[in-house]
């Protein structure tokens, strides 16, 4: 771009917006962009870059080697298993809740919506603690569970329950406003023309809300795989048994095994990046997240 082009841009802008001091405008613009990027660089980009720099600090081999560790492998397996149980259940719940709430008018509806959103307002530590108070040794059902030799806390069921609590609203809160906005006309037409309930759902409703569903499911999955606080309270941190990936990161980090900790962290960072990419693609279809 030569000086003439620059001059033309200034003249054009001046012509379009009379009275505006163009030099100050450019300065303000430069200031805002610099401050924004500086803030994000320090707080977001630097930590993101650190994850990969630290993970590869001792070379690619050390990075790959950290996944050979059986405890790391079992942490990855546990995280995948938990997400595989929790995400479908919460998706099923989201579909049922949005059908009941968006398709029908009943008393106490807005109260029900508030209750569904509740887990988002609660500290992750509390989300885990409620299950400890129910099923822990000193909890409401602790003695009974011990007598029957059932372990929930410091075991797999507790991890699944805590994760379920934390990710509970994600699918529902995407689908409810979307279904409400799309209305009931097409479903009513289908039923009136003799389509069955399931056929109406699968052939009419599901295709309409599919992008909202994808959006909710990927957010639910990202949170399920990355949850730390709630799971930390119920897990008991037994290596190779009840450590999910985020908990395993903590253990490796506290043992000063930084390559190992950041190697696991790099996987979760890639998951977050993937989540954002899918989210952006879904938004490109015209669907705007809740």
């Amino acid at each position: 771009m030569d000086a003439k082009d620059v001059a033309n841009i200034f003249i054009d802008e001046h012509a379009a917006r009379p009275g505006r001091d163009t030099l100050t405008t450019s300065l303000v613009r430069a200031f805002f962009i610099t401050v924004s990027l500086g803030f994000l660089a320090a707080l977001l980009f630097a930590p993101l870059a650190t994850v990969f720099v630290m993970a590869f600090e001792k070379g690619v081999q050390a990075y790959v080697h950290s996944f050979v560790d059986p405890d790391t492998a079992s942490a990855i397996k546990l995280t995948l298993f938990t997400a595989a149980v929790v995400v479908p259940l919460n998706t099923l719940f989201g579909l049922a809740a949005s059908w009941a709430i968006a398709k029908f008018e009943f008393r106490g509806k807005s109260f029900l919506i508030t209750l569904i959103d509740l887990p988002l307002a609660v500290s992750p530590v509390i989300s885990g603690m409620v299950y400890v108070l129910l099923f822990g040794l000193q909890g409401w059902f602790g003695v009974w569970l011990q007598d029957h030799d059932i372990s929930i806390i410091f075991a797999l069921p507790g991890i699944v329950l805590a994760t379920m609590f934390v990710t509970f609203p994600y699918v529902a809160r995407e689908l409810i406003p979307l279904m409400q906005q799309l209305g009931n006309d097409e479903e009513e037409a289908a039923i009136t023309l003799g389509a069955g309930a399931w056929m109406t759902f699968f052939r009419v409703t599901l295709p309409k809300v599919r992008w909202g569903l994808v959006y909710g499911v990927i957010l639910c999955n990202a949170r399920a795989m990355g949850e730390f606080g709630a799971v930390s309270v119920v897990s008991g941190h037994i290596r190779g048994l009840t450590n999910t990936m985020p908990l395993h990161i903590e253990i490796l980090y506290n043992e000063y095994n930084f390559v190992g900790a950041f190697a696991v962290a790099s996987l979760l960072t890639l998951l977050a990046v993937l989540t954002l990419i899918v989210k952006t693609l879904v938004e490109r279809t015209g669907y705007k997240g809740h």
Binding site: V122, P124, L133
Partner: protein
């Protein structure tokens, strides 16, 4: 039919040709009760087993008060920082075009998607004394990692997307023609900001502040790595709850948990009121 009978006969739900209400409503309320409501009730009931004296003693002891001071102080400060920088970022994304803008916009949601343990260890590494940023602050005597400043930094990162994503749509609504008209009439830059832009985005900014604050008070994962976790100094309330649980002091943990629940619900109410205010204002200004 008299009024009383009519009231009884009024259906709980309005009739509809669509099927499946019983199934979906039943499943929703059952699952909600089992996963969320009963466990939360267990928490409140556990705290209720304490006498008033014990309850007050637990939630008002010095260590608890110290943790509130850090949790609430750092959350307020972080939300205030986001009030300024969140507005600047939202303004930049709404008003200006620059290379890489779409990627930056997508990355704003990163703290939502990134597991808190990852942001915790990464921030600690960056702000440690020998870290990328920490080493430049060290000569000035500013220690970030393992101090209350570190807690604030972590909560600022966690709260940032709440502020930006709330202010962004509100800023996009500001009518440019109003600004141009004001300018034509001789209004200065700050006058326009104060009289036109600020009133339009104020409800959104306050909502963003409340959302960031509420998230910050409960945050655990990203904070504990950078906090140092010394009682009375760098120990947040959620961590104190975890410590009590590990000592099998379930009642003490439940008491502190009840305090945090009450604060969460108060914030939830405040956020709903702020959003309702924003909507009313929006209707008025666009009419």
């Amino acid at each position: 039919m008299n009024a009383a009978v009519r009231d009884v006969a009024r259906p709980l739900r309005q009739p509809s040709v669509l099927p499946g209400f019983g199934l979906t409503f039943g499943f929703t309320t059952f699952f909600l009760s089992a996963v969320v409501l009963l466990p939360l009730a267990a928490l409140v009931l556990m705290a209720a087993r304490m006498s008033w004296h014990d309850f007050l003693h637990t939630i008002l002891e010095a260590r608890a008060l110290g943790s509130y001071r850090l949790s609430f102080g750092a959350s307020t400060l972080a939300a205030a920082i986001n009030l300024v920088f969140g507005f600047i970022i939202a303004w930049t994304l709404v008003r200006y075009e620059f290379p890489g803008k779409k990627i930056i916009d997508a990355l704003i949601d990163m703290p939502f998607a990134l597991p808190t343990a990852v942001s915790g260890i990464a921030l600690t590494t960056v702000f440690a004394q020998n870290g990328w940023i920490g080493q430049y602050l060290e000569p000035f005597g500013i220690k970030v990692a393992y101090t209350w400043i570190g807690v604030t930094v972590a909560l600022t990162l966690i709260g940032m997307p709440f502020m930006v994503r709330t202010v962004q749509p509100a800023l996009a609504e500001v009518q440019k023609d109003l600004e141009d008209a004001a300018e034509t009439l001789g209004a200065g830059r700050f006058h326009i900001f104060r009289r036109i832009i600020l009133p339009t985005v104020l409800p959104a900014m306050l909502t963003g502040f409340a959302l960031a604050f509420a998230r910050g008070v409960g945050e655990y994962g990203s904070v504990i790595f950078i906090a140092g976790n010394l009682p009375m100094k760098t120990e947040i309330t959620p961590l104190l709850i975890v410590i009590k649980l590990e000592e099998f002091d379930y009642k003490g943990a439940a008491a502190l948990g009840t305090v945090m629940l009450v604060i969460s619900f108060t914030m939830l109410l405040a956020i709903n009121l702020l959003q309702a205010w924003g909507r009313r204002r929006h209707v008025r200004t666009t009419r």
